[in-house]
């Protein structure tokens, strides 16, 4: 069991909202002490001068493709990518083949995560059997096996009575329902309905397709008193729905993804299918609204929606390409540049959106750098400038438009219990 002293850095406390210089002494996978100039007797010294230490990130929405598409990603490869990106906890979505709708499959995923030993894996189970949107899945069994939330992500539960039942039943097991809000009649659309889709002749999907679905879910959540979480918010109209619901006291939370903070639909001019994602990239007005919503807390969390796709699924015409962007290794940097460097959020606030807030929504123990807590934290170099190249990708897939982009700020090491892993490009 390693005893390590992380010395000379500045520790970020997202819950308290503070950043202060401190050393962190870790032993046996737990934080022993946090303070100034700690005694390092018997400890391996890890030089953290010029670095920041923050609680490990929690990705409440990602796709690890196992079982079924192990060519695109596995739990192991996904956790490697996650760890490099600063994530100590990941929540893989159940839209695999077969879909994760039984306790056996939840257990399978938990075990795969333990075998890989890189991240704490908290599966999300299906709301309905086979994600068909008709019959309830075994929410109780899945909860017992370790799932932390339920979702039919990839699809919206179109039948309102079924969604109501899901919300009611999930309440028993204190499971938040993560909803992928998309009216199915607009599924043929490939681009946000706007000037760009008109210019490019691409089948449009209006922002209303997301907002209307969110509105229905919010009202049902209000009816049942259950906890609803709106996935990947992409537009101002949905922000509005969530804001009003919160004002009314509905137990709703929301997340967005780095690509909705950084890109707008101008990016698809040129038909590069790396920008094809669902929900689609929206207008600049929507992008600003989503950023502002993170600032004022209407959107609670940042999740990656890491969506690996094989080359043959992506390297094709825009409308035929599978939608999705991998994001575990770039999430921190993109968010840091767009939110912290542009003064939208302070560093503790930004880290909380990645760490304590998602943990809270999922009922996970709050990651903290404090005595007697699990040593799950990251070492950050905020001055780093780097590029994410295909060779850097630890995911089995490479589908991201951020290849070659200059990124600011970097996770240089992630500590999980007593394992310390450095991410390429410099030591901790």
């Amino acid at each position: 069991m390693a005893r390590r002293l992380f010395a000379g850095g500045r520790v970020v406390d997202p819950v308290g909202g503070r950043v202060a210089p401190a050393d962190v002494l870790v032993d046996g996978g737990r934080v022993l002490e946090v303070g100034r100039r700690l005694d390092e007797a018997g400890a391996e010294r890890v030089d953290c001068r010029g670095r920041h230490l923050a609680p490990g990130f929690v990705d409440m929405h990602c796709h690890l493709r196992e079982p079924g598409r192990e060519d695109e990603e596995t739990v192991a490869s996904g956790c490697r990518a996650a760890r490099a990106g600063g994530f100590t906890h990941v929540c893989p979505m159940p839209n695999t083949e077969p879909a994760v709708d039984t306790e056996a499959l939840v257990r399978f995923l938990v075990r795969r995560g333990e075998d890989a030993g890189l991240c704490r894996v908290h599966p999300v189970g299906c709301c309905t059997r086979g994600r068909q949107g008709r019959e309830l899945a075994d929410l109780g069994g899945m909860r017992a096996a370790g799932c932390v939330a339920v979702s039919d992500d990839g699809d919206w539960i179109a039948d309102a009575r079924v969604m109501r039942r899901v919300l009611e039943y999930a309440k028993v097991f204190d499971l938040p329902v993560l909803s992928h809000c998309e009216l199915p009649e607009f599924k043929a659309g490939v681009a946000n309905e706007g000037v760009v889709s008109t210019r490019l002749g691409l089948e449009p999907v209006p922002a209303a397709a997301e907002a209307a679905a969110a509105a229905r879910d919010v009202l049902l959540a209000e009816l049942t008193g259950s906890r609803l979480h709106v996935c990947h918010v992409s537009c101002a109209a949905t922000v509005d729905v969530v804001r009003r619901a919160k004002e009314r006291g509905v137990a709703v939370t929301a997340e967005t993804c780095p690509h909705y903070l950084v890109l707008n639909d101008e990016a698809i001019v040129g038909f590069d299918s790396n920008y094809r994602v669902n929900p689609p990239l929206r207008s600049e007005v929507d992008r600003r609204a989503v950023v502002a919503a993170l600032e004022d807390g209407v959107i609670d969390a940042i999740a990656t929606d890491h969506a690996p796709h094989s080359r043959e699924e992506k390297e094709t015409e825009f409308g035929a390409a599978a939608p999705g962007i991998i994001g575990l290794q770039t999430a921190f940097s993109l968010g840091f540049e767009e939110l912290v460097l542009k003064d939208v959020l302070g560093l503790p606030g930004f880290i909380s959106r990645l760490s304590s807030v998602p943990a809270q929504i999922l009922g996970l123990p709050l990651p903290r750098i404090a005595p007697d807590c699990e040593a799950d934290f990251v070492v950050l170099d905020l001055d780093a400038r780097w590029q994410f190249t295909p060779a850097d990708s630890l995911s089995l897939s490479r589908n991201t438009p951020f290849l070659g982009r200059e990124l600011r700020g970097r996770v240089v090491a992630t500590v999980l219990g007593d394992s310390l892993l450095t991410s390429g490009g410099g030591s901790a």
Binding site: V195, G201, L202, T316, E317, G319, A320
Partner: protein
Amino acid sequence: MSFRHRHLLGIEGLSRDDILTVLDQARTFREVLDRPIPVVPALRGRTIVNLFFEPSTRTATSFNLAASRLSAQCVSFSRATSSVTKGESLLDTARNIEAMRADGIIIRHSQPGAPHFLSRRLRAFVVNAGDGPHEHPTQALLDAFTLREHFGDLAGRRILIVGDIAHSRVARSNILCFTRLGARVAVCGPPTLLPRYVEELGCSVFYRLDCILGEVDVVNMLRVQAERMTSASLPSLREYRQIYGLTRERLAGLGPSVVVIHPGPVNWAVEMDYDVADFPQSLVLNQVKNGVAVRMAVLYLLAGGREEADG
């Protein structure tokens, strides 16, 4: 005058000068087509492949003729006869064709951006013969050629495009091309077939044909497809004809200098009554004749020089 482009993917990437260069060259190729031997050796030894994933007789034939008149060899792959139907990816299909030393690929596809996709991955030059509802640049060029032949300059001319604008690549390319040549463009159709933000392309919008028909110099009718009825975009073809069709009554009321064009094929008695076929002010047959010359100009300008020309 110059044309420094490697591909023709759309009117979007063309300046006014580029367009005028193509039209100017098309004029010289019209003369070639009128010769006793309407063939020139300019593209001798080049191989041009027609890759048509959507059916088309007239466009494919027009390109075929254009290539042949330039002494290039033209080979056609159509959806019905190729492995495309077996699910071979677009990239694999194109790579296979390139391996056969094609110098240029003319592609028609149902997906916007398919020609752009190929242009980034192949050594051959790529001509967009229609990519879904996005663009059909050679149609716009031959329409502009036809109208300029009639009017001279298009500056200030009022051109009305009528029909299913939302799904029409001809509409998008024509709006861009005509406005770039200085014309004033308006579009007319039911709101269900007009995309939002279409004014941002540089045109004005009308929902009733009779409101605007009396004030234009050119009526550019578009084809309406029966599928639009099943997608709840149109109540019936009869209703469409009543409100948006160039009926014989409307035709009779057109001023003596107003001309009519249509990219073809025409749905007679839907968007136009058959009287238009005999209408002296219809330029539809001129469009067809000019198509080969314009496509010769395009192929010549793209293929004429060394392979590594920039753009």
